[in-house]
């Protein structure tokens, strides 16, 4: 009985979460008037008109390329910087480390809109305004505190003996980071990549403001701009959304299997 209730709850919860996804997929394969009249109807027979129009328009492929570029370089940078910082904070117990820790925690609670104008000024001072590197650096700085937090939490489960054993084996901290710590942090890295990856991919305000209109759009900004451009062709809008979210879904599914627990098992005793 209990099991059935649990199963029922699971089904209802999944349905709630999957319904929007269904709407996007179904409507991306329907014609415009069908969408307006019967939004929940399955796409029978399906049509690829919307998808091909969007892809041929070129707008979405350019947006995808930009988004992949920005998201990819941001999360790669975050991964390296945050895990190194977390490891450094983990092994040092200096006062500087504690102060740094406080600053990082403060970074977690800053809302973007508040700092967007100063950030723009800083980027302008560095001549990085309206550029991909500028946006990537800002996003990295903005999301790194979260990643540091995740890494530090995970580092706590890495036995201290392991690091000391590596020290005794003659390794420097740099070598220990690459050869011992980073491999052990794989599950944490998977979480960091997925979570910050989704945030950066879905980010709208930062690329809109920091990138400006001349450098091209990310998919989110592109979607926003296409609303007026296509004078709301729902078929194409849904097709656009499908194309824009497909990479995130794929990314998640690929990394999901790395959320393995117990990688640490067998290290000690």
């Amino acid at each position: 009985m209990k099991r059935q209730i649990r199963a029922l709850v699971a089904v209802v919860a999944s349905a709630l979460f999957l319904f929007p996804l269904y709407l996007v997929i179904a409507n991306a394969l329907k014609a415009d008037e069908e969408i307006v009249n019967q939004p929940a109807k399955p796409p029978l027979p399906p049509t690829l008109a919307g998808l091909s129009a969007v892809v041929e328009g070129g707008e979405v492929t350019a947006g995808l390329r930009n988004s992949v570029l920005i998201t990819g370089s941001t999360i790669a940078l975050i991964m390296v910087v945050a895990s190194m910082l977390a490891f450094a904070l983990h092994v040092s117990n200096s006062r500087l480390g504690n102060a740094l820790n406080a600053v990082i925690l403060f970074g977690l609670i800053l809302p973007t809109p508040v700092i967007l104008i100063p950030v723009f000024r800083v980027l302008k001072f560095l001549s990085l305004q309206n550029s991909f590197p500028g946006l990537v650096l800002f996003l990295c700085a903005y999301y790194a505190p979260f990643a540091v937090l995740v890494y530090r939490g995970f580092l706590r489960s890495v036995p201290k003996d392991l690091i000391e054993a590596a020290l005794m084996d003659g390794a420097s901290y740099r070598f220990i980071y690459w050869a011992v710590v980073l491999p052990l942090l794989r599950p944490a890295t998977a979480s960091v990549l997925v979570i910050t990856g989704v945030w950066v991919w879905n980010d709208f305000l930062n690329p809109l403001v920091l990138l400006g209109p001349l450098q091209g759009n990310t998919v989110t900004v592109g979607l926003y701009r296409s609303v007026g451009q296509f004078s709301i062709n729902f078929g194409e809008l849904f097709a656009y959304m499908l194309v824009a979210s497909a990479p995130v879904l794929g990314f998640y599914l690929v990394l999901q299997r790395h959320f393995v627990r117990g990688l640490i098992a067998g290290a000690t005793k």
Partner: protein, 381 residues
């Protein structure tokens, strides 16, 4: 290979605990010295200072004659075996053992050869491609050993490496480590809280108590001539029984409750100080006590059997002695409250002995072999 010298080495943690106080210890080149003592006495701390994992508050550490206080761990050329083994979980057995060679940029081919050679000596050939989590406790222990010996370091440090093994495996590994150490001739410092391990493995044994060195000596020397009451009661299994007696100088005897023991002439000759004290703590090893017949004359204590531990070859009999004298064993162990009832002694009897709890008995005492301490725990000379 190298010698290790500690000169007045002290460790005070930030919290203020003095974990090790003014430890002075010379370990000769190729020697195996065991650090032993009860839990919390500072053994690990001492070892970690030698390893460079813990800073030295005061004093000097020399390895191979060079002062090492401020040299980083990875430059001391020391290998350490951890109690937890600390194997890298993401690497195979071979990669674990070869890690230090990889750090030292030993070419891949040579690395593989040395890993194979060490694996063969330790009987790990078959397991070279396994991950640590796929090994038994004993196998992990071997890998940890392999990781230490592959580097051919100046010094081995081992922190209770056998404490996670079962009794049988532990005694096998004791012999194996002793063997290996003798064969390689590497200076080794071995930490344990198990006095059997200390006695069987150490060329010399250093006994620590609350961060202070009590005695360093060869195992038998330690057993025969403990420097103080603490060492006397810590070394030996079952441990020495310690009884508190009043010294009746005019009768040349010891008295406690109804018991009277005559002090033999040779003992007095060796320890003239004995008659000058009012009270003495007398340490008696189980093998110097005997279950005696009622008719026997000579020094003996009357008592009641309280416990029997038959090991087959020997039977150890716990006897509660009659009388008001209190057992001093507890005082030696660190001032816990004395056990209620009379003082207890442990007697070694033949395996065939038939003693039952509750039975009355007489325990013959060989005072020639006894150890005498004053109430402060120092030996009476």
């Amino acid at each position: 290979m190298a010698s290790v010298q500690l000169a007045n080495v002290t460790k005070e943690y930030v919290s203020g605990t003095a974990a090790v106080s003014r430890l002075t210890l010379d370990v000769a080149d190729g020697e195996l010295v065991v650090l032993v003592g009860p839990s919390g006495c500072g053994k690990s701390t001492a070892l970690r200072m030698i390893a460079g994992l813990e800073s030295i508050t005061e004093g000097d550490l020399f390895i191979g004659g060079e002062r090492m206080n401020d040299v980083a761990s990875h430059e001391r050329d020391i290998a350490m075996v951890f109690q937890s083994y600390a194997l890298y979980p993401h690497l195979t057995v071979g990669e674990n053992m070869g890690f230090s060679l990889r750090v030292g940029r030993v070419p891949k081919r040579e690395r593989a050869e040395r890993v194979r050679a060490v694996a063969r000596t330790l009987g790990l050939d078959e397991l070279i491609d396994r991950k640590p989590r796929e090994l038994s406790g004993g196998q992990r222990q071997r890998v940890a050993m392999g990781r230490a010996i592959i580097r051919e370091p100046q010094v081995f440090l081992m922190d209770e490496p056998l404490s996670n093994l079962d009794a049988k495996l532990r005694s096998e590994m004791r012999a194996e480590i002793s063997d290996l150490q003798a064969r390689l001739g590497v200076t080794t410092i071995f930490v344990t809280h198990d006095q059997v391990e200390a006695m069987t493995m150490g060329h010399r044994v250093a006994v620590l108590r609350e961060g202070e060195l009590q005695q360093v000596a060869a195992p038998y020397e330690l057993y025969r001539h403990p420097a103080n009451l603490f060492v006397a009661s810590f070394i030996g299994n079952p441990s020495m029984s310690i009884l508190r007696f009043a010294v009746e100088a005019e009768h040349r005897r010891l008295a406690a409750g109804p018991a009277r023991l005559d002090i033999p002439e040779p003992v007095l000759a060796r320890r003239p100080g004995l008659l000058g004290t009012a009270e003495a703590l007398v340490g008696l090893r189980p093998e110097h006590l005997r279950l005696a017949g009622d008719a026997e004359s000579g020094n003996a204590l009357d008592g009641v059997v309280r416990g029997v531990e038959a090991l087959g070859s020997d039977t150890f009999v716990r006897v509660e002695c009659a009388g008001s004298a209190e057992s001093a064993s507890d005082a030696a162990a660190g001032g816990e409250s004395p056990t209620p009832g009379g003082p207890m002694v442990t007697v070694r009897a033949p395996g065939s002995a038939s003693a039952r709890p509750g039975q009355h008995c007489r325990v013959a005492v060989d005072l020639d072999e006894a150890h005498f301490f004053d109430p402060a725990g120092d030996p009476i000379r």
